[in-house]
Amino acid sequence: MSASQSPAESRRTAGYPKLIKAVLYREYLIFVRYPANAIGGIFISLFFFGVLFFGGQVLSGQALDDSLEGIIVGYFLWTLSLGAYQSISNDIGSEVQWGTLERHIMTPFGFAPVALLKGAAKVVRTFITSVVVLGVMLLLTGTTLALNVLTTVVIATLSVLSVLGLGFAAGGITVLYKRIGNWLNLLQFLFIPLISAPIFEQPLLRILPLAHGSGLLQRAMVDGTRLWQFSAVELATLVAVAFGYLFGGYIIFQYATRRARRLGVLGDY
């Protein structure tokens, strides 16, 4: 290849493996190069947990201690969900603002695989920070949990996938209506009732995002139930809810993007 050849002439193409590497590497670079967001997130999460824990001890004493393991697991899932939701919805908003969403749309790959890869990277990133939060919470409270890595990772990941779907939907709404990110961030408080939904009393609530996953995660981390000890129906429900919301959220994002293109407001921030 001579120096005067253009990239077009050289025709050395990048396929999906290169795209996956490029998107994940970009996420990795930003994570390690700008750790302030992640560290800030960890501190804020721990601060609120500290308020919840010490405040709860003062107010309810032994009652809190009895349900502490459940609270820690719920709080872990909440930080995980919060990170995944905020990162994907805010990230799409930033891509719109920067004009990079438009650039991705006019590539041979389109934005779809990039968005999904970014979502996957966000989940991994959020896992790392949430595990730190979990570790500090356990140390702080002197609690122990049954931490089977495979079971915890699989169930927590599948639980968070449904939230990722909500993030995509929120991102789609941002594409259409622009500066409403702060309002959409309020949705994250909805995660608390979802995580603590009474799924045993009301089995239908299992189809809501996080609810069923939260129940399984409690059993895994508090009671020590392993992945293969859950029933096929329970696991199938978890998978169906995870991919149902992920797919649904992505469809909403695609629809919103298409509508923004029709209205001429795609990059009109």
Binding site: M1, A3, S4, Q5, S6, P7, A8, E9, S10, R11, R12, T13, A14, G15, K18, L19, K21, A22, R26, L29, I30, R33, Y34, W98, G99, T100, E102, R103, H104, I105, M106, T107, P108, F109, G110, V114, R258, R261, R262, L263, G264, L266, G267
Partner: protein, 345 residues
């Protein structure tokens, strides 16, 4: 029709998308229209626009604010879904094979960053090369050359956020060119650049068009840039083209020119009367008299001389001022805009 312009699952790889149909124009736009809103609020931003652009040419797209330039560019690129019309990039219909068509094109859009400021310059080039379907390792030499040509070598490993505005603009251009697109849309590429950087960019665009057969569609308010670098100029007003020709032909086609007159006889009354009788571009007071520039066309200079003579004004100096692209642009767009009012960009 616009529905079909949306991306859909095509069974092409980025590699296959890089094909082109031989002898097809780089860009063929046929009957593209876009109206925003409904009923009485409807505004036609682009009105049945058709044109072809040959490969390796640099075409300037001019128009006043609200003329429809950005909507046209975004309609061509599929960022805005047109109501009607077809767009072919290197012969590939963007409706029928969007992914293959998108392999031909990239764009630097006005008012957007276009790249990632938290990555370094080189990382941006590598990233946008990959998403454009080009292996960055295979074109590392080209990226290096691009960095050298845009005088970014020293900053290659600096995060874009730490660069000046002009540098950022260059990085934006570099990242657009990094993916090897054969058709490039640049919306206000010289915005924020100093004179020297702007000239470097113009030289680089010319080199890319000549040596690498890259087609450039350039939208700019900087008439000097358009006049210097473009092979052809499309002037838009009110959603449609009011001129389409080379800069030379456009300038040749206009009768409008300026006449500069210096006379010590000019006083307030005479200047006021002159402004009532002619289109006066500028007045510079002298002591005594004034220097005025009057816009005229055809034999208008004789009318001006007659007018001065009948008022006993003796011109001490008379000079004609050749029309520039800006004069022509103002003339064409004034004429076109006045009867119909503005439009949505």
């Amino acid at each position: 029709m616009s529905e079909r312009l949306e991306q859909r699952g095509e069974s092409v790889t980025p590699d296959e998308g890089r094909e082109t149909e031989s002898r097809a124009p780089a860009l063929a736009v046929d009957g593209v229209s876009k109206t925003f809103g409904d009923g009485e609020d409807a505004v036609t931003a682009v009105d049945d626009v058709s044109f072809d652009i040959e490969s390796g040419s640099i075409v300037g797209l001019l128009g006043p604010n609200g003329a429809g330039k950005t909507t046209l560019i975004k309609s061509i690129l599929g960022m805005v879904l047109p109501d009607e019309g077809t767009v072919r990039l290197n012969g590939i219909d963007i409706r029928e094979r969007p992914r293959a068509a998108y392999a031909q094109v990239d764009a630097m859009l006005e008012g957007a960053r276009n790249d990632y400021w938290r990555l370094t310059v080189r990382e941006n080039l590598r990233y946008f090369s990959t998403v454009a379907g080009v292996d960055p390792d295979a074109v590392a030499n080209q990226h290096q050359r691009l960095l050298e040509q845009l005088e970014l070598t020293d900053k290659a490993d600096t995060a874009v956020r730490d660069l000046s505005r002009g540098m950022k603009q260059k990085v934006s251009l570099a990242s657009v060119l990094a993916g090897g697109a054969s058709i490039v849309f640049l919306d206000e590429p010289t915005l924020g650049l100093d004179v020297e950087s702007s000239r470097t960019l113009q030289t680089e665009l010319r080199r890319l068009a000549t040596e690498q057969d890259i087609t450039v569609v350039l939208s700019s308010h900087d008439m000097d840039v358009i006049e210097t670098v473009c092979d052809r100029v499309l002037i838009m007003s009110d959603g449609t083209f009011v001129a389409d020709d080379s800069v030379e032909e456009l300038l040749r086609s206009t009768d409008v020119y300026g006449v500069r007159v210096v006379s010590s006889d000019f006083d307030d009354d005479l200047l006021s009367a002159l402004q009532n009788a002619f289109e006066v571009r500028s007045v510079e007071r002298l002591s005594p008299g004034a220097r005025v520039e009057v816009e005229t066309e055809g034999d208008g200079i004789y009318e001006l001389m007659d007018w001065l003579r009948t008022r006993d004004v003796t011109p001490e100096r008379v000079r004609t001022v050749e029309p520039g692209l800006e004069d022509l642009f103002l003339d064409l767009t004034d004429r076109a805009v006045q009867p119909t009012g503005g439009s949505l960009e």
